[in-house]
């Protein structure tokens, strides 16, 4: 057993993707962590810092050898992916998510050294429907069990992780259900949706959104590595943004259209490789979702640095507005009517 904390060996999966690589790199710089081993099918592109990369497929038993050989005591599982992206089709994605997790957990179970497992899950597991409560706590489940796509993968991954936690009670399992991660450089279904020049939205519905800044994602994972607390935790920035409000803040024009039209437009955009629009996103953009983060504060002891609002502001800081005519018109009107001295003097509200 590795008792000395400074000698901890952390295995991070999914480092070929940007978030995984950045996290592994920042973790490797942490003095409390001895070694960071990154694992993925394809090598990461970009600076990997002090991380040592092992090219291994988590869908094969090779991963067990890596864990045994490197004396890994902490495993951070980050390779549950939301979209196939470069990996291939939906079947590849499902294989990576579900079979990959099963193999990884089997390897962890075999190795007595592994004493801490951290899984980056997603709030997608709660689904999104009209019958949802306003804020999901960790004890609640989806109102309708997901039947396909990423949501189903996440649900299956979580059930395997719970099974692992039962079989290895000595291993602390931390499951982090993260809200949509957002940041200037994040590529995900939700960020590519917001990067569209004209944003389609579902007519007559206004979704409640919660975001987690990418820095907070790294911070919470690092926090979990340093202070192992077993359990399941919702992780999200404080506050709520309405979809309409978010679009107004971006100053981008939006087109309200019926739900089915947004869905077919989304799949058209996906096949045209314009945006990574995933099917379960339609329900999310219709009804939205909020998660309760009390347990994240009280039990995990983590405090996100960015609120939902700040995370979104940071995300849009690099996006040029494509609309905003109404605001400019109002500003001009303000100038003309009340004179420059009065502008901004209104303190109502």
């Amino acid at each position: 057993m590795v008792s000395d904390r400074s000698g901890r060996v952390v295995l991070v999966t999914g480092v070929s993707r940007d978030l995984g690589r950045r996290f592994a790199r920042s973790l490797a710089a942490d003095p409390e962590v001895g070694r960071v081993i990154g694992v993925d099918v394809v090598p990461p592109r970009g600076d990997i810092g002090d991380m040592s990369f092992v090219r291994a497929d988590i869908r094969t038993p090779v991963i067990a050898k890596v864990i045994a050989k490197e004396d890994v005591d902490t495993v951070v599982h980050m390779s549950v992916i939301a979209t196939p992206g470069s990996a291939g089709g939906r079947s590849t994605m499902k294989e990576l998510n579900v079979i990959g997790t099963m193999q990884l957990l089997a390897a962890c179970q075999k190795s007595p050294r592994v004493e801490h497992l951290i899984v980056k899950s997603s709030t997608t597991v709660y689904g999104a429907s009209s019958r949802d409560p306003a804020m999901f706590t960790e004890d609640m489940g989806p109102r309708r069990a997901p039947r396909e796509g990423y949501a189903k993968d996440v649900a299956e991954v979580e059930s395997y992780v719970r099974g692992f936690a039962r079989r290895r009670p000595d291993c602390r399992v931390t499951m982090l259900r993260c809200a949509n991660v957002i940041g200037p450089h994040v590529t995900s279904p939700i960020t590519s949706y917001f990067r569209l020049p004209v944003i389609p939205r579902v007519l007559g519905f206004d979704a409640r959104l919660q975001f987690l800044h990418q820095n907070d994602l790294f911070a919470v994972l690092q926090h979990a590595v340093r202070h192992p607390v077993p359990g399941t935790f919702n992780v999200a920035g404080d506050g709520i943004l309405m979809l309409s409000q978010a679009i107004r803040r971006m100053q981008r024009p939006s087109v309200p259209m019926p739900g089915f039209a947004v869905g077919s437009l989304g799949s058209a955009l996906r096949s045209a490789r314009v945006a990574d629009f995933s099917p379960e996103q339609l329900a999310f953009l219709t009804y939205g979702r909020g998660v309760d983060t009390t347990r994240m504060r009280t039990e995990l002891g983590f405090e996100p640095a960015f609120t939902t609002e700040q995370a979104f502001a940071d995300f849009i800081s690099l996006l040029p507005p494509t609309g905003g005519y109404t605001d400019r018109m109002l500003a001009a009107l303000e100038q003309q009517l009340v004179g420059p001295a009065m502008v901004g003097g209104g303190e109502r509200g």
Partner: protein
């Protein structure tokens, strides 16, 4: 002429006496005095500039008439080209007048504040709570729109508003009627006007499934009627409103008016018991008569997935006109709060107790309804 003693008061300065071809000298004097004042403005602004024309917003339309009366000089008979439109100076004058009408004498800072508000809305620079409640919009638009209807059309009378606690969680339980849940909106406005607190309604899941309605409901502070949300709101110290009769209440035929329907499964009582907040029974009289429901089309309703398709004496026969509610007299009585914090721990899991409290609330509302009905002289008075 020697008619100097005739001062044309009733004609508003217009050369009004005589045949109309030759104005009287008094009229000419008055007209002559007024004309040079307007002269410099008029010729310079014959061609209205496009952006200037858009400036006066919807507010200036009704206020234009008084401007013409007060400030404009005598009517000229000079032919204007029909396509010239209204001169910009008139637009500006009308706008300034409208602004003065709406915002009072101190209109400039008020208008600046209003524009700042508009800009904040347009740029999304406002805050909603975790249920999506937008207090600003609710106060400025929803309640402001409902208030005149409640006060002038339904002449709402509120009794016992002091029973609503000034702070802390409380559960308002009300009867439900009226084919369209207008009673919820009126209660929302009445509570806000009498206590300054926002009522947070709990809505059926159909509300959140319907487009437009769902977005409006969330904005006005509603959330789904489920135990999780009810308890969360009550723990958060909100004033929560619930209509346990649900669609059975608003969709009941006119012949069943003021007969309370089954009170759901008593979920609201267990939520109140768990959080220990008082239950305030609210009896609404008057909402039953706004759209007397005399028929239903169950087949079409099933087809559309809604609880009922109403037929009233005026709808659908008169089309949109049938949507105008009848001006019945409304009485809202808030009863004595029923305390729930005196029961021991775990009382919410005792179904018998929950049923008892549910019946107590139901009985209170039913009895109050009868006494209010006795008090009301007729449906419309």
């Amino acid at each position: 002429m020697g008619d100097a003693e005739i001062i044309p008061i009733g004609t508003r300065g217009r050369p009004g006496r005589g045949t109309g071809t030759q104005p009287s000298s008094a009229a000419r004097n008055l007209a002559g005095g007024a004309r040079p004042k307007r002269k410099p403005a008029a010729p310079a602004t014959e061609a209205p500039a496009a952006p200037e024309q858009q400036k006066p917003t919807e507010a200036d339309a009704p206020a234009e008439v008084p401007v013409a009366d007060l400030e404009r000089g005598p009517v000229t008979t000079r032919e204007r080209h029909p396509l010239r439109g209204i001169p910009t100076s008139d637009w500006l004058a009308a706008f300034q007048h409208a602004a003065r009408e709406v915002f009072g004498e101190n209109w400039e800072p008020q208008l600046a504040a209003f524009l700042a508000f508009l800009r904040r809305r347009v740029t999304g620079d406002y805050v909603v709570d975790e249920y999506g409640f937008d207090a600003e919009i609710t106060e400025r638009f929803l309640i402001a729109a409902v208030r005149p209807i409640a006060e002038k059309w339904f002449r709402v009378e509120v009794i016992g508003a002091e029973n609503i606690p000034a702070e802390g969680g409380a559960l308002v339980v009300s009867n439900h009627s009226g084919t369209i849940p207008v009673d919820g909106l009126v209660t929302l406005a009445a509570i806000h006007d009498h206590t300054g607190r926002h009522l947070r309604p709990l809505g059926a899941d159909l509300v959140f499934r319907m487009p437009v309605v769902s977005a409006l409901a969330r904005k006005s502070g509603a959330t789904l009627a489920c135990n999780e949300d009810a308890e969360r709101m009550l723990n958060g110290g909100e004033l929560v409103g619930v209509w346990p009769e649900g669609f059975k209440g608003i969709g009941k035929p006119y012949s069943d008016r003021y007969k309370l329907q089954r009170f759901g499964r008593g979920g609201f009582v267990s939520a109140a018991l768990r959080t220990g907040v008082p239950i305030i029974p609210l009896s609404v009289v008057g909402a039953e008569e706004i759209y007397p429901l005399v028929g239903n089309i169950p087949t079409l309703a099933r087809l559309l997935g809604v609880p009922y398709i109403p037929i009233t004496p005026f709808f659908p026969w008169l089309g949109p006109l049938g949507l105008v509610p009848l001006p019945s007299k409304w009485l809202l009585e808030f009863g004595e709060p029923i305390r729930t914090d005196e029961y021991e721990q775990g009382a919410a899991d005792d179904p018998m107790l929950v049923f008892d409290v549910t019946d107590q609330v139901r009985e209170t509302i039913q009895q109050t309804l009868y006494s209010l009905l006795m008090k009301r002289r007729s449906v419309f008075r």
